[in-house]
């Protein structure tokens, strides 16, 4: 699922700004967005379909709070994986059904030895640790070590807030 860069014009960016807090909970939400950005419903639908196809929009729908669904053990598993094999292994880890995010990130000398990040979610820590063990087994001898960093509190979760002022001319 590679994202093709597409050019977004001022109206596209106005749609981003108008929906950053979410879609209006009214019968015709895209019409409400159209009114806010000064275009037609058809135009909003066409632009959003294009941005969805291009991966600018990952998906449209509900974003649950893991904790409120009973997933109390939310762990960021981090792994030190052989650079020569991490791309293939990262794909395999990302495909595990319980992994919600999977990224390659830089190591920081002396401070941070881990290059592969995979978020797991369990109803309790036993479940999360079983998931981490599954990842560890999959990584095999390419993995030199790992840890689980459990989140203990959500301090902020507002989602994306881009400053679109420049694109909107003010």
């Amino acid at each position: 699922m590679m994202t093709q860069p597409i050019l977004l014009d001022a109206t596209d960016r106005a749609i981003v700004t108008a929906t950053q807090d979410g879609l209006p909970l009214v019968p015709d939400p895209y019409g409400a967005v159209a009114d806010r950005v000064g275009t037609t419903t058809e135009d909003v639908l066409a632009r959003m379909a294009r941005m969805l196809a291009a991966g600018v929009i990952r998906r449209i729908g509900a974003v649950p709070n893991h904790y409120r669904l009973g997933f109390r053990a939310n762990g960021m598993t981090v792994w030190d994986v052989d650079d020569a094999r991490v791309m293939a292994l990262g794909e395999a880890v990302g495909a595990l059904p319980f992994v919600s995010h999977c990224y390659l990130r830089p190591r920081l000398p002396e401070v941070w030895p881990y290059n592969l990040f995979a978020m797991v979610h369990g109803h309790d820590r036993d479940e999360a640790e079983a998931q981490a063990a599954e990842i560890r087994a999959l990584l095999g001898d390419a993995c030199r070590g790992g840890e689980i960093l459990y989140s203990t509190k959500i301090l902020k979760k507002t989602g994306l807030r881009l400053r679109m002022a420049s694109a909107l001319g003010g």
């Binding site: 994202t3 600018v56 409120r68 669904l69 919600s100 390659l104 994306l160």
Partner: protein
């Protein structure tokens, strides 16, 4: 699997399980999404409003990918002294670029995502957070995003 979230009834769970993606792009999308769940348009809208108000959903709508907008989302970590934790959380959260922030049980105990319109702005915000808090900010930008397809089951 149902030990937690006792305030979610069968309909709430069906909505959450069905609508984590694929919400339709059409004139009456709530009506279209409600029909297969056996709900009316008004019932679905009312349920979604309640799920948001109760904090079960953090949002409902399109999830934008910052990189595709020309922006960048950088994961950053800090080691915050325990006696300053709440104060520093307030300082970090005050930045509009901070999209989420989590306390984690590690020496690096505060992890947040800085999302900005441009990579330069994201980096500048990390520097400003370091200056505001007097603490080192370790930026760990994503080098690659592996494909995945998770749907949480409520």
């Amino acid at each position: 699997m149902t030990t937690a979230a006792p305030d979610l009834d069968r309909i709430d769970r069906a909505i959450i399980n069905a609508l984590q993606g694929g919400f339709p792009l059409c004139d009456r999308p709530y009506a279209a999404a409600a029909a297969p769940l056996g709900l009316s348009e008004a019932e679905l809208i009312e349920r979604l409003a309640s799920l948001r108000t109760r904090g079960v959903l953090t949002r409902f709508g399109p999830l934008w990918k910052p990189e595709a907008l020309g922006g960048e989302a950088v994961l950053a970590a800090m080691t915050v002294p325990a006696d300053r934790f709440d104060e520093v959380a307030g300082q970090v959260n005050a930045f509009p670029e901070v999209a989420h922030n989590y306390a984690r049980d590690h020496a690096l105990n505060m992890w947040f995502v800085v999302a900005a319109e441009t990579p330069e702005r994201a980096r500048a915000a990390c520097d400003e957070i370091a200056a505001a808090t007097g603490l080192a900010v370790l930026p760990l930008p994503k080098l690659h995003e592996f494909h995945l397809d998770l749907r949480l089951v409520a």
